[in-house]
Symmetry: C2
Subunit: 158 residues, 2 copies
Amino acid sequence: MKFFDDMQIGDLREIGKHQFTAEEIKRFARSFDPQPFHLDEEEARRSHFGALCASGWHTTAACMRLIVDYHKGLAAEMIARGERPAKIGPSPGFKNLKWRKPIYAGDTVTFASEVIELRPSASRPQWGVVRMLTQGTNQKGERVYEIENIAFIERRTA
Amino acid sequence: MKFFDDMQIGDLREIGKHQFTAEEIKRFARSFDPQPFHLDEEEARRSHFGALCASGWHTTAACMRLIVDYHKGLAAEMIARGERPAKIGPSPGFKNLKWRKPIYAGDTVTFASEVIELRPSASRPQWGVVRMLTQGTNQKGERVYEIENIAFIERRTA
């Protein structure tokens, strides 16, 4: 992770993309969201979704996986350049999670994050508070997913 | 699901409980959140969490599973009494997801939902809009998880 002091409002980065296969959609649903439209093509066709689609919680989990991989890659690059990556504090939670459109079997979603607010932590001078908006867009260019998160990122000046 | 017209603000229902085993925490993390403190006891001990704990997205997924099972049970009971369960519309998303405290390996979390707002849908008279607060409490009575959601629930008067 970049240090808080090296971030700017409007910084936009592509996190990665993920294809939601029918097999993966059903596997997630069997464990965590066993509703007919996430488990079976025929039942999904008869539902309000019209076709097999991913659990919204599968979307959040797949997005998290891409974020973790992205940060690991970034940390490895910084270490290769002889820099120390910034620490990230535990996430306190999220705001405004929006499943804008269904993600259907076979869809590929590209996730990107934008820095929308930066402020020093009032109580902990070694941390900065970063608000980010992460959005997911499918292969047709449709916005399908949106989540706002707050992260505590280490300050270079600490 | 009960019909919108049969709900009242303050209605509280226990959704169910879930024990987060070390094995399950690691399995979820390998797929969706491969950070050291969700994968390995020793690395977790050295982290800010102090012990192996569940991914926050594992918490949301486990809670969803309990909600689906709860509604299936409720629907089966209504059908057994000769009633038709109300339809639930697709969820537009969530607000204010809060991971208040870590959920450690072995913890059992009880989830409960409370109706906090009821209003008829302005645009679709067959649906009512229900705002619910779902909270998770561990075996020590500590509030560990909180999420606010909006659901579209069928009206009896439609």
